[in-house]
């Protein structure tokens, strides 16, 4: 068995590509667990970050600095009474959150966390992603309809119109990135891994390709993806001041939390796609320019150092906590958390050091894998911060303005960028 694991870790293809069902299943489970954990972490982080934008502290009571708040919330939601309105369409009401969740999580099968750190390397990865994420809206639409109530219905109507319109701009922005993959090789690719590899070969992230065309396409994609995930300032479907809670007004307890899970999972998914298409996916900064083994080593220290920094922040938190019996448990809890982070940091640094000696060892592959995932997750985390930032800054668009932005601004710009990309590409090659 260890041989099996080792031999797999040594391979350079994704389990899906190798037809390895076992490892594909393991990957799916890992990704499911990791995304769920990320959603929990994101929940905490969003509340804290938003709170600090708004000169307040956010959750502080449950656990040190509210670290256990998401867990407490999850427990509360799981134990809450699950209300199905009497007039609701029971079956559809039941299945709606599941549809949303399924769609949000299925996208992860094609997201490459590294050259072989993906469930599958589909040759139509980008199309698969677009198709599956477009199914997510079905969950929202039928949820709004099944609730048999006015606000959810309006939320669902808004949501369906919004998703369909922004998908067009999103798809066109994606196409311009796909077009860029064919620049040097002559044949483009729709595979997510292929797109990142193409960025490596061309030595440029697509966001900077044909400046500013890549940048414009990227910005358009980001706007469209915020709209696709129903986040502020495009959170029409759940505009709380207008539609109380939009499509999930009638939902409660576990079912409601499934919606939240789906929403955050979708946010992470679309951010991953943006990272893959424009920001070089798992590539660390300057992989071609600074490609000496020494640079490899320096960059491979980053994951350990990041966790070390987080541990240091936690330690500072422990020091700053008032010395009072009331805070005893919290101090200890935070100290344990800091120690945990410290151990992770230590482990990662050890791996980085162990992987330094040679390229062929398992340790080196392991180090590379951690590197890939680290840079990918770091870029995605920046997008998560962007989501929160937008939410704290902007008022909400009105529905007709939203549609106008989608159809009359975003779509023409993306089209022009697409055409220009094609023309410039032909001229350059």
């Amino acid at each position: 068995m260890p041989n099996f694991i080792m031999s797999y870790l040594g391979s350079t293809v994704t389990p899906g590509e190798a037809g390895n069902q076992f490892w594909a299943l393991i990957y799916v489970l890992i990704i499911f667990a990791a995304v769920s954990l990320a959603v929990v972490a994101m929940n905490w982080f969003e509340r804290k970050a938003l709170a600090h934008f708004q000169i307040r502290l956010g959750p502080m009571r449950v656990g040190p600095h509210g670290l256990l708040q998401p867990i407490a919330d999850a427990l509360k939601l799981a134990l809450k009474e699950d209300i199905i309105p009497a007039e609701a369409d029971q079956f559809v009401f039941w299945i709606a959150p599941v549809i949303g969740l399924l769609a949000a999580f299925t996208v992860y099968t094609v997201i490459p966390f590294g050259p072989s750190q993906a469930v599958s390397d589909m040759n139509i990865g980008v199309l698969f992603m677009l198709g599956v994420s477009s199914l997510g809206v079905l969950g929202i639409v039928v949820a709004g309809w099944a609730s048999n109530s006015h606000y959810p219905l309006i939320g669902a109507l808004r949501s369906s119109a919004q998703m369909v319109s922004y998908e067009v701009a999103m798809g066109l922005a994606v196409v311009s990135a796909v077009l860029m993959t064919s620049m040097k090789t002559g044949t483009g690719t729709l595979s997510m891994i292929g797109i990142v590899e193409s960025q490596q070969q061309q030595g440029i992230w697509f966001i900077f390709k044909f400046f500013p065309l890549g940048l414009i396409a990227f910005v358009n994609f980001v706007i469209a993806m915020i709209a696709e995930t129903n986040r502020a300032p495009f959170d029409m479907a759940e505009a709380e001041s207008e539609l109380t809670a939009g499509y999930h007004t009638e939902y409660s307890g576990l079912r409601w939390s499934l919606f939240m899970l789906a929403e955050y999972a979708a946010m992470i998914a679309v951010s991953s796609i943006a990272v893959t298409l424009w920001l070089g996916g798992w590539l660390r900064p300057f992989p071609n320019l600074l490609n000496a083994p020494a640079w490899d080593f320096i960059f491979s220290l980053f994951p350990g150092l990041t966790f070390g920094a987080l541990a240091a922040v936690a330690v500072i938190g422990v020091m700053r906590m008032p010395v009072h019996p009331y805070f005893r448990v919290q101090r200890i809890g935070l100290a344990v958390f800091a120690a945990l982070l410290g151990f992770i940091a230590l482990f990662l640094l050890v791996i980085a050091l162990a992987g330094r000696s040679s390229d062929a060892t398992v340790a080196a592959r392991f180090r590379d894998g951690i590197d890939y995932v680290y840079w990918f997750v770091l870029k995605v985390a920046l997008f998560m911060y962007l989501f929160i930032w937008c939410r704290a800054t902007w008022p909400r668009y009105r529905f007709d303005q939203l549609m106008r932005v989608g159809w009359k601004v975003l779509l023409p710009i993306t089209l022009v960028v697409l055409i220009l990309t094609a023309i410039v590409g032909v001229i350059v090659s």
Partner: protein, 195 residues
Amino acid sequence: MNPSLNMALISAFTTTTDPGMAPVATPFFFYLLSGLAVAGGFLVITRRNPVHCALALIVTLIAMAHLYLMLYAPFVAAVQIIVYAGGIMVLFLFVIMLVSIERASKDRRFNRIWPVGLAAACALMALFVSAFVKGRALFPDRMIAIPEGSNTQQVASMLYGEAGRMGQYTFAFEIASLLLLVAILGAVIMTKKKI
């Protein structure tokens, strides 16, 4: 661990002989997906509630997308999901939600000409069966070869042609897209007085 067991494990979970997106348990998935598609289609015409019908139709479309996938046509499968399940069905639902459900569900599902419809369906079925029986030679028993290159490129070269020459269907494709454009413009002009 015992090396032989190790090998057995590897072979149990790996189909290394056939790289690429080779389907496993083809007949099982074929019948499962076909069954789903047929069941979905049946539900579409029998359910009273239009939203249930739409959901059943989505199931049918997704099952068919998977059938395309099994036919080594991933591009067509993806387009099927994006355009039909993700786009058109959402618009369907959009319209259905605006329509009064109570009245629609009280209407009689099958109106008086249902025997004619049944006859038409039977005739179509007969046509399919006869085509299958008589033209058996047209249908190979098994797939001859996995097509080389990706399906996406094949579609592209059919529609737009290889370098230097037009594709087989370029003209038809452009005509069709022009037709759709005219239809869109017409719809916009008919519904909206002021643009």
